[in-house]
């Protein structure tokens, strides 16, 4: 500790330079991590909020809820006695208050459920859906599009208008914001019928998109239905795995490269101190004492650099536009920080090896 701290005190400029490298690299890593996590949430928050363990889709729907349509009667018979919620999911562009400019146009996912279902949204502001053509919107629409209670959302596909009566916590599916309504209003039939096609088509609910199961108990299905785990369902969201893998690989490579860069820096600095280490060894100071000091210096440099990197990431989050899918998860931050510290220490072990190799005779010669 003594040697490590005294050297940092004396060589402030040199160590500031190394710390700044750690700061910049870690800032990039944390920033990418925030984007990756934000994007992952943009794909999945609505699914996680269903509190489901499994989902039942039509056989052959390729794990895609938008391709799934199940006869309601069959489904209710199959799931008798189970803890489940019926769900309808539609997707369309929509306009806020009927205005079709860019600012008021949104890509929307409409989720329908029974009012007493477990998947019904928790209300943050306003009230729950009570009447036909009412909807509760994700709070992200308030933040990103200035949507307010009382505004209307017109579905581009069928020109149906929903009145926003409340907001629920952020819910997105496949990067689109979600509005929640009743089961009938989000049905496939309702989505394809325009108001003048038939008088009241949406009231005839014959089919639903899927059912989510809230328990882990095994289920045996006799009909042509497919049962998949929620994680499997999430992994099948179009583009989701590609995004996760791309960001994941970028982050892992950055962590590895940063550790190598830092390791090389520390190695060069250690090599430059060969003469000093030789002097200490001549005096009888052991290699292990010197090596501990090198490792401690690495720890101090990496921990302080990572701490500043994390702080900068949090500050950046405050200034990012709300539309940027950026979210910080403390657990991920801790995991990446520990990984970076570990790999940096691993890199520093090369320096330690070089310390052990220093021959005090070289100093005398």
């Amino acid at each position: 500790m003594f040697l490590a701290l005294k050297e940092i005190k004396k060589e402030k400029g040199r160590f500031l330079l190394i710390i700044s490298i750690v700061v910049l690299i870690s800032y990039l890593v944390y920033f990418l991590l925030g984007l990756a996590y934000g994007l992952a949430l943009d794909n999945t928050t609505a699914i996680y909020r269903l509190q489901a363990k499994k989902i039942i889709l039509a056989d052959g729907s390729n794990k895609n809820i938008q391709s799934s349509l199940i006869e309601l009667e069959t489904l209710q018979q199959e799931l008798k006695g189970l803890d489940y919620s019926l769900i309808n999911l539609g997707r369309s562009s929509a306009y806020i208050n009927g205005q079709k400019d860019d600012r008021h146009t949104i890509s929307l996912v409409i989720i329908g459920s029974e009012s007493n279902a477990k998947i019904a949204p928790t209300i943050l502001e306003g009230r729950a859906v009570m009447q036909d053509n009412e909807a509760v919107a994700s709070i992200s629409l308030k933040h990103e599009k200035d949507l307010a209670i009382g505004d209307t959302i017109k579905i581009a596909m069928n020109e149906k208008e929903f009145k926003v009566v409340g907001f629920t916590s952020e819910a997105k599916y496949n990067t689109s914001s979600v509005i929640y309504t009743d089961l009938e209003n989000a049905s496939a039939a309702s989505m394809i019928f325009k108001a003048d096609d038939t008088k009241e088509p949406i009231k005839i609910l014959k089919r639903v998109s899927a059912a989510v199961i809230h328990t882990d108990e095994p289920i045996t299905l006799t009909s042509n239905l497919e049962i998949i785990s929620i994680q499997d369902f999430i992994n099948s969201i179009p583009g989701y795995q590609a995004q996760i893998l791309t960001f994941g690989l970028m982050i892992i490579f950055l962590v590895l490269i940063s550790s190598i860069v830092l390791g090389v820096f520390l190695y060069i600095i250690t090599i430059q101190k060969k003469q000093t280490f030789g002097i200490m060894k001549v005096q009888g100071i052991s290699s292990s004492y010197i090596s501990k000091s090198v490792l401690l210096q690495t720890l101090i440099v990496s921990v302080s650099g990572l701490f500043i990197g994390i702080s900068l990431t949090y500050i950046t989050q405050l200034f990012l536009p709300v539309r940027v899918p950026f979210k910080i998860d403390l657990l991920f931050i801790i995991a990446i920080t520990l990984l970076m510290i570990f790999t940096t220490i691993l890199g520093a072990l090369f320096s330690v090896k070089s310390v052990a190799k220093v021959d005090p005779l070289e100093v005398l010669n």
Binding site: K6, I279, Q283, G284, I285
Partner: protein, 223 residues
Amino acid sequence: MEIMKFEQVYKNFIDNGETIQALKETSFTLHAGELVAIIGPSGSGKSTLLTMMGGLQRPTGGKITFKGQALDTMDEDKRNILRFDEIGFILQASNLVPYLTIEEQFQLVDKFEKRKYDKAKSEELMKKMDILKRRNQYPSDLSGGERQRAAICRALYTNPSLLLADEPTASLDSKKAMDVIKLMQEITRNSNRTTVLVTHDDRLLDYCDRVFKIVDGILTQER
């Protein structure tokens, strides 16, 4: 009192497959309170001799004893401890750690030994060597003479029985060189320790009790 004994010690090196005898069979004894000089041309084997005395390398053959303990067969950890406790090195380029202040050089010794810093002892040494006012400075801020005196202080801090000095006055002007050798003579006599200095400087020899000359690995006592 006998401090160090060399009995038929020799050292060979292999260079490009050829055996080079850096030190031919040598025997001598060093006693407490002696100031001994080793002179000789460059490459004659002076440093080889000094490093074997300090336990930094083992002889190819023969026996070296330090205060009765066999130094030539001692393992590296024990030699490190012995060097730390009993042997003080004063190097040509000074044996100071560049990123520690003069006072911190002493603190390092106590930190390594996990004991409390002996401030009174370090101050006494620095006062004696007239560098007390430079205690908070780094070696690079000191003049050559001050640096060498600080190096002597540091070497004396562990109260070694044997002081090994490699060209301790090489970078100093005449007056400072004389000051340093007088100081070394004083600390050798007054503390009853043994000092061995390797030097090219003939002016220092008058202050030494014995002078050895080494040429082509052969050590002879000049006086």
